[in-house]
Each structure stands twice: as structure tokens, then as C-alpha cells.
């Protein structure tokens, strides 16, 4: 599990994240939601150490600050936004790069690494994409290959930064149900509240740098909590036990 307490990050004079606590639980999907500029991506980057701010992050009880880059990468696999958009590598080569934290700097990937990478590609249902050029894939295919790269990393936690960005609705669902199916402890930054409702277990709602609410999906996705944060009228429906939110401009 990932536990963060008192996380703060300032950029120049601007405080982007202030005193945030959060915990992701074993085998559950934690969603980070909030309006634009609320600090979701910054918070995620603090969790995987791309940014070092005030406060502490612990991964399975060990402080992140005390782990080497390599050790961190063996515990946290991250799917960043728009990664590899300009690469000329093939999808297979991209997935194999996921083995990096398990190899010494100058070692070549061996038969076992190739096997693990091939399995990862199979788990995301993208075996046929292996030899193709990564940059030539569609957005949904790229996202699946990047998730395969993260799987090849064999980390205990999976972090994703807006994995549904720029994807068609069908691929949005495809990618997130994939994440769910994997069963790994995951932290996902999400824009779309209905996707969060469907694919997350727990949510942290950010509003202007701070945590506005936290809890299970059922606890957080309530109109009285969301309306003041998003400035929009929200109606919550439950159909067949699933939460659906409807939005209307604030009256």
C-alpha cells in the first residue's frame, strides 16, 4: 500500500498541493479526482517521486525518500501521459523496456525478460501489436502497450495519469476495465466522474490543492460534496446497483 501524509508542493510562489494525506489499499483501485488545476497530476507525481515536496510517502511501510530510483521502479510502475508519442521504437521494444529496473545498467535483456514481456503483452490482449511501430498505434493501443510495459516491470503498485485522455469512449472503458481486471493495487488520476464511479473502489477528491473528500465511491460521489467543488448541478442515479451522475449547469 501507498501511504502519504502531509504532502505539500510549491512551485515558485504557487502552492499546488497542500497538506494532502492519502492511502491506497491492497488490491483496490484508488481514483484521484477533481476539477482542472486542483493538483491531481502533481499529487500523483509526488507519489512516485518525480517531485519531492514536503511530507512523507511510504510504500509498504518504507519511506519513498530512502529508496533508490531502481528500488522505487520495482515497486511502482507508472503509466505517464502521452509517453512515447515521438519514439521510433516498436511496441515490443517498449514493453521490454519495462524490464529495466530488474537489469543492471549494462546487461542485455535475456530470455526470461523476453518471456515476461511477452506475457505482459498477452495480458493486455495486444500480442499482435508486438512488432509494430509504437508511434503508429492508435491511442487505445498505445495505452494498452504502456500498461503492458508497466506489467513487465512486475511492480506491486500501478499508477496511471489520466489513462483515458484523448481516447474514444469504447477505449476509455476498455483501458479501465483492463486495469480493474489486473487486480493490482492501483492509483488512477481520472477526469470523468462516471468512469471513476464505475472503475474505482476508493476516491480522493481534490479541490484547490486540498483534499475535499475521501472515502469509497459511494461515500464521495454525492451531489452535496461534488456540487460546491465543480460548480455544477449534479443528480445521482442508481441503476442496477451502479452509480450514474447527471450534470446540469448550475441554476
Amino acid at each position: 500500500m501507498i501511504e502519504a501524509s502531509g504532502l505539500s508542493w510549491t512551485y515558485g510562489d504557487t502552492t499546488v498541493i497542500e497538506e494532502v494525506d492519502l492511502a491506497s489499499h491492497e488490491g483496490r483501485v484508488l481514483g484521484l479526482i477533481g476539477p482542472n488545476g486542483s493538483g491531481k497530476t502533481t499529487l500523483l507525481r509526488l507519489l512516485y517521486g518525480a517531485l519531492r515536496g514536503r511530507g512523507t510517502v511510504e510504500i509498504d511501510g518504507d519511506p519513498l525518500a530512502g529508496l533508490s530510483a531502481k528500488e522505487t521502479a520495482r515497486r511502482l510502475a507508472v503509466v505517464v501521459q502521452e509517453a512515447g508519442a515521438e519514439t521510433t521504437l516498436t511496441a515490443g521494444e517498449m514493453v521490454l523496456l519495462g524490464r529495466t529496473p530488474h537489469l543492471s545498467a549494462f546487461a542485455r535483456a535475456g530470455a526470461r525478460d523476453l518471456e515476461i514481456a511477452a506475457e505482459a503483452l498477452e495480458r493486455v490482449g495486444a500480442t499482435h501489436l508486438g512488432p509494430r511501430s509504437f508511434a503508429a498505434l492508435s491511442g487505445g493501443e498505445r495505452q494498452r502497450v504502456l500498461i503492458a510495459q508497466a506489467l513487465a516491470q512486475e511492480a506491486t503498485h500501478l499508477l496511471l495519469d489520466e489513462p483515458t485522455n484523448h481516447l474514444d469512449i469504447r477505449y476509455q472503458h476498455e483501458v479501465l476495465s483492463l486495469v480493474r481486471k489486473l487486480g493490482t493495487t492501483a492509483v488512477v488520476v481520472l477526469h470523468d466522474l462516471n468512469l471513476a464511479a464505475r472503475y474505482c473502489d476508493d476516491l480522493v477528491l481534490l479541490d484547490r490543492r486540498r483534499v475535499a473528500a475521501r472515502g469509497t465511491v459511494e461515500e464521495v460521489l454525492r451531489p452535496e460534496i461534488l456540487e460546491p467543488v465543480y460548480g455544477i448541478d449534479i443528480e445521482r442515479l442508481e441503476l442496477r446497483g451502479e452509480i450514474h451522475l447527471l450534470f446540469r449547469p448550475a441554476s
Partner: protein
């Protein structure tokens, strides 16, 4: 064999390519050594090389042929191969490190630094304490000073970002270009200006069996091996700092370490042969097209392709306007620029 990643197939293909390129390099060296004002047949060249390198018996050849092959042309061809390989692998590494396909070995302002050093040596006798090595020595010092300056400018808060590196390189390059022009102008020596110009356009004419050739050999071979072994790191850097970081590589530390190695090697190469353009820009693209972008494979391929290309460019430089020699930089520019134009035309619209 089951190969869903397509990587085993790529590796096999790369082995074939590398074996072919290695054979082509050897052949190029033997043939190129024979070409020039006095022609020596490849068979004779092979015999002379066999005699010197492997201690094979002397079946009889003219003493002049042996002198031409062993004393004059072989060091020149070897230097050409080393310079071509060195420029190509450093160009490829820099393209990955700054994520820009237009990056070349001179990005760090190294050639303009070396030019200033060479101009100071030719026009004002700088570095005469170095004896025979006065020219390459002061060119190397100029190169080091330039790359140090670029580096210091690009570094902020312990980080070297690609954009700052590019901008610093351009700024320092212009500054030193100005300095070189000023030195030429201030010296008032027409003949000196001509030799500086000749040096600026690149030449392998200084090649001989000396320390410089040995230093170039060590620097280029070591750098090629290091960059090949660091292939995965280069792959990750080429994708992005964020990706490198999440894969457990510290992008700033790796970039800094590789930059130091690259700067030293380019410094050595430029000191030995002047500033030869286009090789370091074009060859990496050729290599990637042939064997793919994975650096562990593309780097050695680029080294061999660069070696072959530069040796042939030098053959043209030596023979086109015999007995006059054309600066090799003119040949590489005339050959390389159309190449680049073709490359630009072939890029799919979304790539540009």
C-alpha cells in the same frame, strides 16, 4: 520460435546487418587504401597489410607501394574510419539525449570551440609548447572549453534539460564562431586565413602513425562500446525523462555522464580532422532505418556505416580534383545535404 514481441527476429536481422557492415568496412579499408594519385591494387594492399599485421611473407612489391600503403594512406584511412564512426555514434547519442532528430555532434558548440583553438594556433602560434601537437592540442583545449561553457549554461538546479542544452549550444556556437572570425580578421594574414579555412572544412591530411591516431582509436572504440552497452538507458532517455525516471533511471545523472564522454570524444575527433559536417546528423538516421531504433543495435550499426561513409568521402576528396585535395567537409556537405532532403521528403506528415 514463438516471438510475439518481434524482438528475436529483430536481433537476428541486426546480426546479419552488423556482419555485413563489418565485412564492408574491411573491404572499404583495403580498397580505399589503394585509391589515389598512385593506384595500388587491392590484392597488393591486402598482401602488404598481411605482412605488417600478421607477419606473412613478402612475395615482392615495389618499395614505393609499401611506403604509400603503410606510411601514407593506411593511417589516413584508419583516421577517416575512426572519425566517421565517432561522429556517428556521438550524433546518435545526442539525438536521443536531447530528443531532437536534428541534433548532431556539434550541438555542444564543440566544433566552434575547436575552430577558435585551431585559429589561435595557426594564426598566433598558440600552443607551440606542444610541439607537433600544437594544432590538435589547442583545438582540443578549445573544444573542452566550449563544451564546459555549454554545460555550465545548460545546468540549472543540478539538472540539464534538453531545451537548455540546445539553446546553450547554439549561443556558445555563435559566440565562438564570432571569435574565430575575429581572430582571422585581426591576424591580417591571407595565407593563415586560408589554412584556417581549410581546417574548418575538415581534412584527414594530418593523419600519420602518431599519438593522435592512437588517442582517437581509444576514444572512439571506448565510446562506441559504452554507448552500445548503455542502449537501454538511451532508449529510455529518447522516450522522455518522466519515462526514464519511472523505469528506475535517473535521467539527469545518465545524461550528464554520457555528455561528458561524448564531449571528450567529439573533442578528440574534431582536433584530429577539423569540423566535418553532416556525418553525425545523417548516419544515425540511416542506421535506425536499417536496424531499428533500439540503441544497443543502432549504435554499432551507426559506427560502421559512419566509418564506411567517411572513408569513401575522403577517397572522393583526394581524387576528384587531383592533384588538388578538396576539404572533406565540402564532400560530406554535398553528399549529406541531398540525403537529408530525401529524408525530410520521406517523413510522414505527422512526424514533422
Amino acid at each position: 520460435m514463438h516471438d510475439p514481441l518481434g524482438i528475436s527476429r529483430r536481433r537476428r536481422r541486426a546480426v546479419v546487418w552488423l556482419a555485413g557492415l563489418l565485412a564492408a568496412t574491411a573491404l572499404t579499408i583495403v580498397v580505399a587504401v589503394g585509391l589515389g594519385a598512385a593506384y595500388v591494387s587491392p590484392g597488393t594492399v591486402a598482401q602488404i597489410l598481411g605482412h605488417h599485421l600478421l607477419g606473412l611473407p613478402e612475395p615482392g612489391w615495389k618499395a614505393t607501394e609499401e611506403a604509400i600503403v603503410w606510411k601514407v594512406r593506411l593511417p589516413r584511412v584508419l583516421l577517416g574510419a575512426l572519425v566517421g564512426a565517432g561522429l556517428s555514434v556521438t550524433g546518435m547519442a545526442l539525438q536521443a539525449m536531447v530528443r531532437n532528430l536534428l541534433a548532431d555532434p556539434y550541438l555542444l558548440g564543440i566544433n566552434s570551440g575547436a575552430s577558435s583553438g585551431a585559429a589561435a594556433a595557426i594564426l598566433f602560434g598558440a600552443g607551440t609548447g606542444l610541439g607537433a601537437y600544437a594544432l590538435p592540442g589547442s583545438a582540443f583545449l578549445g573544444a573542452l572549453a566550449a563544451s564546459f561553457l555549454v554545460f555550465a549554461l545548460a545546468r540549472s538546479g543540478g539538472r540539464v534539460t534538453s531545451l537548455r542544452l540546445l539553446l546553450s549550444g547554439v549561443a556558445v556556437g555563435y559566440l565562438l564562431y564570432g571569435l574565430t572570425s575575429f581572430l582571422i580578421f585581426a591576424s591580417g594574414s591571407a595565407e593563415g586565413a586560408r589554412s584556417v579555412m581549410f581546417w574548418l572544412l575538415g581534412s584527414l591530411g594530418l593523419a600519420q602513425w602518431d599519438g593522435l591516431l592512437a588517442v582517437a582509436a581509444v576514444a572512439v572504440l571506448a565510446t562506441t562500446i559504452l554507448l552500445t552497452l548503455s542502449g537501454r538507458g538511451l532508449d529510455a532517455l529518447a522516450i522522455g525523462d518522466e519515462t526514464a525516471h519511472t523505469l528506475g533511471i535517473s535521467p539527469d545523472r545518465l545524461r550528464t555522464a554520457l555528455l561528458v564522454v561524448v564531449a571528450l570524444t567529439v573533442g578528440v575527433v574534431v582536433s584530429a580532422a577539423g569540423s566535418i559536417g553532416f556525418v553525425g546528423l545523417v548516419v544515425p538516421h540511416l542506421a535506425r532505418r536499417a536496424v531499428g531504433s533500439s540503441h544497443a543495435i543502432a549504435v554499432p550499426a551507426a559506427a560502421l556505416m559512419g566509418a564506411i561513409l567517411l572513408v569513401w568521402a575522403d577517397v572522393l576528396a583526394r581524387t576528384l580534383l587531383q592533384p588538388q585535395e578538396i576539404p572533406i567537409g565540402i564532400v560530406t556537405a554535398l553528399l549529406g545535404a541531398p540525403f537529408l532532403i530525401v529524408l525530410i521528403r520521406r517523413f510522414a506528415p505527422r512526424d514533422v
